[in-house]
Amino acid sequence: MAETTYLEAIRQGLLEEMTRDDRVILLGEDIGPYGGAFKVTEGLHARFGEGRVIETPISEIAIVGVAAGAAHMGMRPVCEMQFIDFMSNAYSILTNYVATARYRAGGLPTPMVVRGPSGGGVRGGPFHSQNAEAGYLHTPGLKIVAPATARDAKGLIKAAIRDEDPVLYLEHKWLYRRIREDLPDDEEILTPLGSARVAREGTDLSLITYSAMVFKALEAADRLAAEDGLSVEVIDLRSLAPLDDEAVVRTVRKTSRALVAHEDTRTGGVAAEIIARINELCFEWLDAPVRRVCAHDVPLPYAPTLEDFVLPQTDDLVRACRWLARY
């Protein structure tokens, strides 16, 4: 067992898959000797050479398009977006070319991963703090994962690389060096796509979330247990596409009250989709309306007072849970 940060877990996952399968290549800006803006790929260029770790010009369309072409030919490219905010530069080729390839082109395979640092809370301002998931969740053909733990950071990057479909792997930069876990050296960690995790068992209400919000949810659950005697179940979705409907239905049937939370903005967000599914799949099990806690519908501002107000905080979750429990 070794203590591993979330960031190291991603790197380990990349390293293991590159060692295991020489079809795995990396493409991205500054990912060579420099090791990437956050050092996720540090050491990989030295180990695998410039044929496997390919530094690219500043050109997200090229990174994604080149990866798609290489993937058609049997390679397993992993693209790094320096910040996930820049993935929108490649939005068209991702949604129009990559996502549709298998369907429109006689089963043309495009097994590739696009990964990069997402999320706020790091005073990054409007262009280094975004959460990209909602903009892609709407597109059939893409899979989306968002790990919250070091174990899943490793297990999901490995599973994403092995997956036959294109996967957006949204890592949260706030977690990079803030969380560390003991990960076993002697066990291969693979987290299946499309499978949620119960982060904390509970019986009174369900808090359904993903990525860094899992930690605020756990904090809220602790407080509610201590201060209100409430037993909150926390569900870490891990995959947003495909969504683990069964896990959502299971927890709603168990607690009959649900709060869906995410760091991304509210309108057209992932929570809206989850709430619609709860409505379709298990409305009769509910004792209260399903609520959501999300960021305010504004670009994410820079100043600490502004950012902390806009992003959902533990207090917001606690208040919403109390409202639900009272209902």
Partner: protein
Amino acid sequence: MTSPAPAAIPPIPAGLRREQLLDLLYYMRLTRALEERLVNLYRQTKVIGGLFRSLGQEADAVGSAYALDREAGDILSPLIRNLGSMLVQGARPVEVLRQYMAKGESPTAGRELNIHFNDLERGFLGQISHLGDMVPVMAGIALHFRLTGQPRVGLVYVGDGAMSTGSFHEGMNFAAVQRLPLVVVAENNGYAFSTPLRKQTAVKHLVEKAAGYGVPGVQADGNDVLAVYEATRAAVGHARAGGGPSIVELVTYRRKGHAEHDNQSYVPLEEIEAWVKNDPIDRFARQLRETGWAAPDELEAVDQRITAELDEAIAACEDEPFPDPLTALDGVYADPPRADLEWYRRLDG
């Protein structure tokens, strides 16, 4: 009195053999004849969507694709007016007919239109409608060739319109920096939909853009199939030898509107008439006759072969059904193999 000596047959240029000249003629005529048949089917409303012609541009598509090495596994990606390039790579007329008529048996099972289909084994990757995107994708295929040490070449078509896109720029720049074995054929046919070249770019010749990427560029007469072949062949050889990408500009002309529905009201009639006289198929057939590279009966045989092949292809697929509606749900992902239908069925529950 002695009879005059027969005029000497001039040598065939570009290292081509006589059968290959007939091949070139065959593919150009097949392209045109297939499109003419499609016009008939379009008028009978059997073509479901739009119909895109390459009338007058057959030499650029056929001559450039012919410069690839199919044995070596070279791969190209066409644009909408490069039907001829796909036929050279082995796409069959019946596949194109099925695509246009949205048949369940079409290569894309009725999901995609016209020549948007692919077979990497035969060496063609269908385009999407977002112009320029195929440049980075083909750069990725060329990257695979280079990383795996295979002496294969990729070729991607762009037009005067596609070259204005960000995707073209990023893909071209990446290919240049990585010195990938990629040939970029810039088909200059004068118009992108209704927009003339002068409103598309401030350069006089598309080939001037090559300098901005640090790659070689050449320009050739796109209506002279042998010139097209020769220019592309040199670029393909350069790429295969590790010299990196280059741009081959083929100057031609779009004699029809953007699609069959477009009446070309924005084009002066004299302009079209001038290019009718420069028809690439007429030019090549005349050249074959006048040089003696082919006998008149050989040219006739090409036409007869095409007529028979197209009769057979249309008969084979004309009455085929559309795809079963439920197949629409299959194959978005490898896993799950089928999109959820239960949410929809529950509407009755």
